[in-house]
């Protein structure tokens, strides 16, 4: 069971195989939890969001389409929405999106050809860390706190135009970094 790939395991989970489900948990719990902890900040809340994410995997396994992207990205996309919804419930953030709609989940995921090695994605961590502080701030508030540009402008006390330009600059830097990895 432990040697099966993600697609095979998800197919088994869709058929109600609990062992396959727990293998996937062992495989990805630390990745999901890292994201929910980053978004929610509190370990207990993060564990609840991690748990909810895996229950969604259990109940929605049939919605996963391997040709649309990797299981990890699908799972992390669900985890991000779950954690951001929890932030909203806690009254800490406005609602972001409808996390129950599977098609919405797929729309925000990059196409299959981009989903290559994880080592590349880890390099993204260092790329974000190397951004100028004001650019890194807007990326973190938008992506890990679910804030819109207007809300970021309000929170940071910056003009909306400044937020937009810093966000574009940050994303362009990260995109270049991604393409550089692509060409290597």
């Amino acid at each position: 069971m432990i040697n099966l790939d993600d697609t095979e395991l998800v197919a088994k989970v869709a058929d109600g195989d609990e062992r396959a489900f727990l293998v996937l948990y062992d495989r990805y719990a630390s990745r999901v939890h890292a994201l929910t902890l980053r978004i929610l900040g509190e370990p207990m809340l993060a564990e609840e969001a991690t748990q909810d994410t895996f229950f969604k995997l259990w109940s929605r396994a049939r919605q996963y389409l391997a040709e649309r992207g990797s299981l990890l990205v699908w799972l992390l996309t669900i985890a991000r929405r779950t954690a951001l919804d929890r932030l909203r419930l806690e009254g800490r953030r406005p609602t972001l999106s409808d996390s129950e709609d599977p098609e919405t989940t797929w729309q925000s995921i990059a196409s299959e050809d981009s989903l290559t090695s994880e080592a590349r994605w880890r390099s993204m961590y260092f790329a974000v860390q190397s951004l100028p502080e004001e650019q890194r701030q807007v990326i973190e508030l938008a992506f890990y706190q679910g804030m819109s540009q207007s809300e970021i402008a309000e929170v940071l006390g910056w003009p909306l135009g400044t937020v937009k330009s810093r966000m574009r600059s940050a994303m362009e830097s990260l995109r270049r970094e991604w393409r550089k990895d692509d060409s290597e």
Partner: protein
């Protein structure tokens, strides 16, 4: 390229981060349906977003989380007891315990009361027998016959005028459960007629038993006592304990 296209293009990166307001999001989604270059550029930004999802050092959750998760799977739910049994609060548990204790105490008291009533009835019966025995001894027509057989000793008090007799015994062995002493009248032709059952009163040294007869005592030549199954027998079946001739 129109000015609008440039405005939409500027929003692509924010859209990939989910950072546009609702009205901007809706307008861009309409534009994307007809603009190939914006869709291509958006795909690049979405790759960056996907990278951001996993661009965090792994954080292992506590092992308890997996146990919690496993416990909520269908197979675990099938094996757990009904929810109401598991979710008693401390208060509910305390009330239930107190109720069970009260019920137990009531039952115990009830059993004790019945035992006391039974003892009281036995004492009353013994007292009545003793009074009868005393009355018989004191009555003019009564006479006493000795009982002596091994360790058993006592007297048979007979009053032919009143057609009654009483056994007063000491050192009579206590019987096993399911056994009883049975008294027999002995007929002249050696027949036996039951004269009653009795058991040893182990709280006292003396056992008193009254003999019952439908016939005049003159019809019998004596009495005998045997050990019989509880409830008695029609004829003697067990060992003889002692006998007394009139």
């Amino acid at each position: 390229m129109t000015d609008n296209h440039l405005l939409f293009r500027e929003n692509l990166s924010a859209y990939a981060l989910g950072a546009l307001d609702a009205d901007e999001t809706a307008a861009l989604q309409v534009h994307l349906q007809t603009c190939d270059s914006c869709r291509a550029e958006l795909a690049d930004y979405q790759r960056v977003s996907a990278g951001l999802l996993s661009a965090l050092p792994p954080q292992t959750p506590r092992p308890a989380l997996k146990r919690t998760l496993a416990a909520r799977l269908p197979s675990a739910k099938k094996s757990v007891r009904p929810r109401w049994q598991l979710q008693w609060s401390f208060g509910q548990f305390a009330i239930a315990t107190a109720f069970a204790l009260l019920l137990g105490m009531n039952l115990f008291s009830s059993f004790q009361m019945r035992a006391l009533q039974s003892q009281q009835a036995e004492l009353a019966r013994q007292l009545e027998m003793e009074q009868t025995a005393l009355a018989m001894i004191a009555s003019p027509g009564a006479y006493t016959l000795p009982v002596s057989d091994g360790n058993v000793a006592g007297s048979l008090i007979v009053n032919r005028e009143k057609n009654s007799a009483i056994l007063i015994l000491s050192n009579l062995p206590e019987l096993k459960k399911g056994e009883t002493y049975q008294i027999w009248f002995i007929e002249p032709d050696d027949g036996r007629v039951s004269a009653g059952l009795f058991n040893v009163n182990h709280d006292r040294n003396i056992t008193i038993a009254s003999l019952a007869s439908n016939e005049a005592l003159q019809a019998y030549t004596g009495i005998g006592v045997t050990i019989e199954p509880a409830g008695g027998s029609d004829q003697p079946t067990g060992p003889k304990v002692f006998g007394v001739e009139f």
